[in-house]
Symmetry: C2
Subunit: 534 residues, 2 copies
């Protein structure tokens, strides 16, 4: 006898449930009535827009679709109701972002223009033929260095002569767009544009060259103390404005110091003092506004780079321990950064990394965990892919990216057993050419296999994806399974898998839940007109 249709339908439902049983949105307690309703409303908004705004014709977008390449699709994303709703979502913690790339470029440029010490130079007089390929170089210098200098765009400009930034901007040649042309030139050097990501630099290797060059350009500006203070303030304020209530930025300590207003080099502890001061000011402000629950705080993941020698790494491990001793509340973890595909693998540093805990014990500090970047690669068995083995064996608390984790059944099992969450950076992975669109991203597979995930922005200033709303949008837009409930679970997990102390963590979770309920009600009310009755 053939199975009846009804029995088949039942068997099918059971199989789907079994298959999805490991997902965070299936493992949780039953949904509240508000959650049920908001989930439906947001799915209906998504469905309505998939066949309206995403099927319209756009002169500059040959193939629009939800979850498409971010740099091309951004202008459509910001017009959607889905995006409008997600802006209001409480995002939880931001667990993976490089501090140097967290403040939007117009704001940073504005900060630089206000500082007479900031100078700029070019290796050639700029003209229309070399503008796009020439990077500006910035530096904080005593003001008397540059007097009576001519425009960067003047044919007589002496290569590599420093010009005060304001003067450089004001005298920027009208043929190259005048002051706005200057802004565009600098912005182009600090961000990735679609023609680079999807055309000229359309491989992982090439886009990383462009990507790293943005840091070389911005670094001397950001690490100038009068700017650094305002930079950190803006990072925290804009994160709060996006619904992020806690941040754990990676700070790259390979630069041995920051530059004071008087030009002297200050050691790493001064950076932390400034960070702490701004952080406390923001917390005080939030408290004064009665919003202390909207921002729990910030801690730093001490990072250095993957092109030093193992011997050099000892210096950074000691430096990290010393900073942890002085700022136990600020140092959250240790990491190594850089393009895994071309830099040293974790294995290369095994000896110093294996000794890190002993070094800490000797110094009498609290344990500093590793939170390693690993598997940010398309490689299958390459050193970058194999970094996942080392990250986990070395006891990483979370995995930065873990793009290739889906290839590793045993490691997936270990991540679940050891409660290692993955910091998934959807837009970063796409712009850095690991995936062509969200639809090819391994995130849905990781979620279904039960891996815990926190969505992260990585380098939002370079990608033009400020906050976490864009990343949440891309994930939501590209799936029929993931709804607002799964996004909520990932937001919760970002708090759960942070390095916050248990009481702070609980406070953050409690505060998040209050905001979540409020958000769901807002979503329902603003999305009512989209409700689709079957």
């Amino acid at each position: 006898m053939a199975l009846s249709l009804a029995d088949y339908a039942k068997e099918r439902e059971e199989l789907i449930s079994l298959d999805r049983a490991l997902r965070a949105d299936h493992r949780r307690e039953p949904l509240s009535p508000t959650e049920v309703l908001a989930d439906k409303v947001i799915r209906d908004v998504r469905m309505a827009e998939a066949s309206s705004i995403w099927t319209a014709e756009y002169p500059s977008i040959p193939h629009p679709f939800p979850g498409m390449e971010f740099l091309t699709g951004r202008s459509v994303i910001v017009q959607t109701k889905l995006f409008e709703i997600l802006i209001q979502m409480p995002k939880g913690a931001l667990l993976h972002a490089h501090l140097d790339a967290t403040v939007n470029v117009p704001f940073l440029l504005d900060l630089a223009l206000k500082q007479p010490a900031i100078h700029v130079r070019s290796p050639v007089p700029l003209d229309s033929s070399n503008l796009k390929s020439t990077l500006p170089e910035f530096q904080a210098l005593p003001q008397h260095v540059a007097e009576n200098v001519i425009s960067l765009t003047d044919a007589q400009y002496e290569p590599n002569t420093w010009v005060p930034i304001k003067q450089a901007r004001e005298t920027f040649g009208t043929k190259l767009g005048g002051p706005e042309g200057f802004d565009q030139w600098v912005t182009g050097a600090l961000t990735i544009d679609p023609s680079e990501a999807y055309g000229t630099h359309n491989t992982v290797t090439k886009i990383w060259q462009k990507f790293l060059s943005t840091f070389r350009v911005s670094n001397p500006i950001i690490r100038y103390v009068p700017i650094f203070k305002e930079y950190v303030r803006e990072f925290l304020k804009s994160s709060i404005a996006d619904g992020i209530s806690y941040v754990e930025p990676r700070v790259n300590f390979v630069y041995k110091g920051i530059i004071a207003a008087d030009g002297t080099h200050l050691p790493h502890r001064e950076l932390l003092l400034i960070f702490d001061q701004v952080l406390n000011e923001i917390k005080r402000d939030m408290k004064q506004q009665g919003r202390e629950d909207d921002f729990i705080g910030a801690r730093i993941i001490y990072s250095t780079v993957r092109f030093i020698t193992p011997d050099e790494l000892y210096w950074f491990l000691e430096d990290c321990i010393a900073l942890k001793k002085e700022f136990p509340h600020l140092i959250a973890a240790f990491d190594l950064v850089g393009d895994e595909n071309v830099s040293h693998p974790l294995k290369y540093y095994a000896e110093p990394l294996l000794k890190f805990h002993e070094m800490q014990k000797k110094a009498g500090v609290d344990e500093i965990p590793f939170i390693f970047h690993a598997g940010e690669t398309l490689g299958d068995g390459t050193e970058a892919d194999m970094n996942l083995y080392d990250a986990i064996l070395l006891g990483t608390k979370r995995i930065g990216h873990g793009f290739s984790l889906i290839k590793h059944p045993k490691l997936i099992e270990m991540c679940k057993e050891r409660e290692i969450a993955v910091e998934v950076c959807p837009i970063s992975n796409e712009i850095l050419r690991l995936t062509s669109s969200m639809h090819m991203h391994p995130l849905p597979a990781l979620l279904n296999h039960g891996v815990r995930v926190a969505l992260c922005s990585d380098d939002p200033a370079v990608f033009g994806s400020m906050g976490l709303t864009y990343d949440f949008f891309q994930v939501l837009a590209a799936s029929e399974i993931t709804g607002i409930i799964q996004l909520g679970e990932m937001a919760k997990d970002s708090i759960k898998f942070s390095t916050l102390d248990p009481p702070e963590k609980q406070r953050a979770l409690d505060a998040w839940k209050v905001r979540w309920e409020k958000f769901l009600k807002y979503a329902v009310s603003t999305g009512t007109e989209y409700i689709w009755e079957e």
Copy 2:
């Protein structure tokens, strides 16, 4: 005490072994000395070429790399030693290919030109502005239909007038390239070119429109009996030449018949009679050459399309059963084909499909298994993705494509328990825009999760990827883990998971092993100069 470096290295090796334990190349018996050596030689060839031929500059290839987009990279692939070696590899069985797209276009065009019955027409007089966007339409017609007609490229050409193909070619306007211009026009209509796959049609939806149009153009040629015979012969001969020893093509029976030389429509059984006759001729030829072990045979997967109604499906199920009764040795399985993203899901056909086995029993035929296309999609929870649930619940013997299977932990488990192999079509998936390059393909993840895989070509005539060598190449080129041993295991699995009877299967496996040893020795001898000593 920190772990010693030696202990760490040991722990690491053990973890890697555990993580890879489910792979076919790890589960098998120990390698023979020849296998060890050939594996190394081929890895060394791959490594040498990754940093030589793949890093050279090519005017027409902006970003060359091993495993890159096939249509752009093909001209480099054919220059590699790796490709030269793989041509000689015994590929096992071809389990997923649509018969209509298995013979290369120049050969098909040549067959058509030899048949005076074949006519061609165009909906407009062709000129340089409409050539690329206008499809030729072919038909076998009595010869007297078209007399004294003018060129398709003549401004006076009466739209939709039939012209004998030979005359159409000879009179093709010199401005449009003359006879070669005609060949290019037809070839363009029967194949996908890089500018379409990676430019104008760079989404799954758009490329499927182009893809399906190639079948509409070629079908009336292929289904003309005098051509069909030669077509089947060429399919089998070229498969044998590529090292394939058994084929299980899908034949689309939605076309109710084939066209005899006299213009009459012949029913499905005539198609099978011809297929059988050609098959027997080839087998006899092979035997005469003493090569009977190089070709075990061919069986057909009866297919119809996913846009019919469930009621209409009954007719095809009955038709399939009737053909199975008459040709038990030829009908291997039943399938439904078409773009899963836009056609009816398997669930829509649940009622007839659930009854199929009972219908077979009633008719007294051997059991015809389902071998369904499922999950050939980027969707996450779309109907196409959900087809995987139905395919498995309905008892599919293998899964065609299963591109989205990696998202389904429970289904992966069931595939392993129930020994359901996946027919993975690497080049097809890439050209049809499911993945941008082999590096983003889920195959490595499936292999590591222990899913059994047969590599397949799908529609090699449309993709210009004749045989299986190109697909094997792409898989080998894009991984550091997969070597020739894993390719060998997939070749073996293609035989194991075929529908061959146990004795035939054993014979095929035994014959494959003899050829495998011979191939490995060839690989070692031809690749010796590439051996890299550490």
